[in-house]
């Protein structure tokens, strides 16, 4: 990685550049690469010791060793930026313990902490057919990444976590669904697929022939007809998907005959929505992306992908892309002062050097009020369910705790992702909390009680079956920050763009949209990041590359 590591004043920064970017959070990293691709001179300064800011990983050097040393984390630790920590093992806020990342009593004291790569901003998922993956491929950042598919998604309700059926094979196998439910779900998924395929036709198609395209949701060979044979029956199905004005997803799904449990599964596990009152219009679009993602990278592969070595590698991959196109990256060097009042403005780095630039991209200041993004991360001694390495559990609103107003997402990753040693598992949870009057950790604590054993806390039966033993938390912590949101940002002048922090979505789409928005603000609405070069085939090449980076 050809980045420069600035120590104090020793490093000579460029005196000027076209665009100065502060921070290497995902939106900034995408922007730096996209702008360097335009041929502009980009300088990117980050006060941290590694790439990614809040989108990065828990630093792999000193602080990571601190994971199992029972001493306090030093001031440079990225965790500190998130304020109060809570001990996930006990669920207690302990101010003296809050900065301590505690080691379990039965953990081997000599365990190599190096074996862990822990994301700060998890769970976060990429969907095979979403815009973010397209950006990865278009930018070339995918060449520095490998992905794993999530093997199974579960939805929790009334003490039981049930696997979610997302394709015809799942629906067929699912003994928990009644015949009527199977039919209603499949009919609905197929209608969504038909419409999604039609939407996608103008832009890109997933799949090649009729036979292959429909592995996930149906339309076997006998329905083959080629484009020109588009049948009226399918049209009718899609017509039925029209969303009423202002309709919620729940009302929409009710209208399509889905039972309450299927509505929850579709809304939170497939459309990956966050809140109970989510709008059908948005949720349906998200669902289409999910449906197009199922089996996109192999018949048995689900829609959700996660990067090997953690999502923290993604900003770094974009930084590599930018570096190839000539962008300069400097770590341990922030910006102390910024004067953007003139066309050619200046910034003073934390090292005291002045850089002149025409345009600036800076982090949006964290809000002082508003929803909180709450995270937990634990190291487990065993998987939640023996069969799965990478799995997702969603807790629909109110399913885990009374005060739970938004979905709780829990992601387990195993050693196959390179994020933890063999035999250990990382469990990430996150949710959004609106109400300032409730304990922000209450929801995650309730969800943790469902999933894992925590020392003193008496344990209930596993949600995954009577004969399944809950894994124990070896170490864990919880932290929170204000939720970033696109609408936070007012572009006050034409030469400064702001990038928000992590948002409440399940995916990287928000970060991508933030980058797109900043890009258009700086370069014009008609400008597109990573435009396809002339003559480049619009389809497939990228998908084939993506196939290669998806690990078995």
């Amino acid at each position: 990685m050809p980045a420069n590591d600035a120590r104090g004043d020793e490093f000579d920064l460029p005196k000027s550049c076209d665009v100065l970017i502060v921070g290497t959070a995902l939106p900034q990293a995408v922007l730096a690469a996209a702008i360097a691709r335009r041929g502009e001179r980009v300088v990117c300064l980050d006060a941290g010791t590694s790439y990614g800011d809040a989108f990065g990983a828990f630093a792999a050097t000193t602080p990571a060793r601190g994971l199992f040393a029972s001493d306090a984390i030093d001031g440079e630790n990225a965790w500190e930026t998130f304020g109060t920590c809570v001990d996930a093992k006990t669920g207690r806020v302990d101010d003296t313990a809050s900065r301590r990342l505690r080691r379990s009593a039965n953990e081997d004291a000599n365990a190599p902490a190096r074996g862990y790569s822990i994301d700060l901003n998890a769970p976060r998922l990429a969907l095979g057919a979403d815009g973010f993956v397209e950006t990865l491929v278009r930018s070339g950042a995918h060449k520095y990444l490998e992905f794993k598919a999530i093997e199974r998604t579960f939805v929790y309700a009334d003490g039981v976590a049930r696997a979610v059926a997302s394709n015809r094979s799942d629906v067929f196998k699912d003994r928990g669904l009644s015949g009527g439910e199977k039919r209603a779900l499949m009919r609905f998924l197929k209608a969504v697929h038909v419409e999604a395929m039609r939407d996608a036709t103008g832009r890109r198609r997933s799949g090649k022939s009729g036979e292959e395209t429909n592995v996930a949701v149906g339309a076997p060979g006998s329905e083959w007809g080629g484009d020109e044979f588009q049948t009226t029956k399918d049209d009718d199905d899609a017509e039925g998907l029209r969303v009423e004005n202002g309709e919620t997803m729940d009302a929409f799904l009710t209208r399509h005959g889905l039972s309450a449990s299927l509505r929850a599964a579709v809304t939170y596990a497939l459309a990956l929505q966050t809140r109970a009152d989510c709008a059908a219009a948005t949720a349906l679009e998200d669902l289409k992306v999910y449906i197009l993602s199922v089996a996109k990278y192999g018949p048995q592969t689900g829609a959700c992908l996660i990067p090997v070595y953690g999502a923290g590698d993604i900003p770094q991959a974009f930084c590599r892309v930018g570096a190839v196109d000539g962008a300069t990256y400097v770590l341990r060097q922030g910006v102390r002062e910024l004067d953007a009042s003139t066309t050619i403005s200046a910034a003073i780095s934390t090292g005291g050097q002045e850089i002149r630039a025409r345009k600036f991209i800076v982090p949006a200041p964290e809000r002082s009020s508003g929803p909180l993004l709450v995270h937990a991360v634990c190291i487990l001694d065993a998987p939640l369910v023996a069969e799965y390495g990478q799995m997702l559990v969603v807790f629909p609103p109110l399913s885990a705790a009374d005060a739970q107003t938004a979905v709780i997402r829990a992601l387990q990753v195993g050693s196959h992702t390179g994020c933890c040693p063999e035999g250990k598992y990382l469990l990430y949870l996150s949710t959004v909390v609106d109400d300032v009057n409730v304990d922000p950790y209450a929801g995650l604590n309730a969800a943790l009680d469902v999933l894992v054993r925590r020392g003193e806390v008496s344990s209930t039966a596993s949600a995954f079956g009577a004969d399944v033993e809950k894994p124990e938390v070896l170490w864990g912590t919880m932290y929170k920050r204000r939720c970033g949101h696109l609408d936070d940002i007012e572009c006050s002048s034409s030469n400064v763009a702001y990038c928000p922090g992590p948002d409440e979505l399940a995916t990287f789409e928000g970060a991508l949209r933030a980058a797109e928005r900043a890009y258009k603000a700086l370069f014009g609405d008609d400008q597109e990041m990573f435009p396809l070069t002339e003559g480049e085939p619009k389809e497939t090449t990228g998908d084939d590359d993506m196939d290669a980076m998806l690990e078995d």
Binding site: R168, S169, V171, F172, K173, G179, G180, K182, R183, M186, V215, G218, P220, G221, S222, E223, K233, P299, Q300
Partner: protein, 271 residues
Amino acid sequence: MKACEKLLGLCPEILTAWNYRRETIEARTGDAATTSEGGDEGEGEGEGDWWSDELRVSETALRNNPKSYPSWYHRKWVLRRMIEAFGTEEGKARETLEREAKLCADMLNADDRNFHCWAYRRFVAEKLGRGVDEELQYTLTKIENNFSNYSAWHYRSAILESRGAADAETLEREFELASNAFYTEPEDQSAWMYHRWLTSRARAIEDAKDRESLLERERQTCREVSDLEPTCKWPLLALASLGDEHPREMFQNLAALDPARGGYYRERRSE
């Protein structure tokens, strides 16, 4: 043999080239496949294991064209000779058979309808002495992956047939499996074809009470599917086979729903 291998790599359909290989091997090994007698012109490092060469050449050919009749047959021929020489209990032939089972599983993962591979797999499973239950489980896995896999339903029927007359309990379980497919995708014909066969078996159950309760249960399932998808012809067709009380009306409806096969329905109606 090298040139021959290259040729088959390019075009596995050339029967004569396979014949040439077999002739050469027979000439070298004589009747006993275990001994390698002379003629090793630098090929086939391991003495006497001519079969690994042959299996490799045929595998390359099959990766190239998985539906090549002569490539599949060559494999079968090689295996037969190995079994003649070593038996199937243990040792080389056994190991090879186990590997062949894995190759089949691989190839059926890539194309679950390759009937050549299904046939070869049946041969391998039989030589390995795989039991009925093991094979039923395999077809179940394939069906669960993709219930449009008619090949797997077919094999299931063949296994159950080979086990003799199906009892009410087995049939009930099979009906249940098929109904999962109807509810998921009632337009998919694989499971309905299987269902028609199950129905014919159910009608042959001797115990009148068992028979009637099974048929009645299926009639209810089909009525339910039909209520869910009134424009779907399959549950109506199944009801006709199950002995619905109004077959004439049923076929009238079917002719309207599925005009392409109107001739068939009209003929059935007039029966």
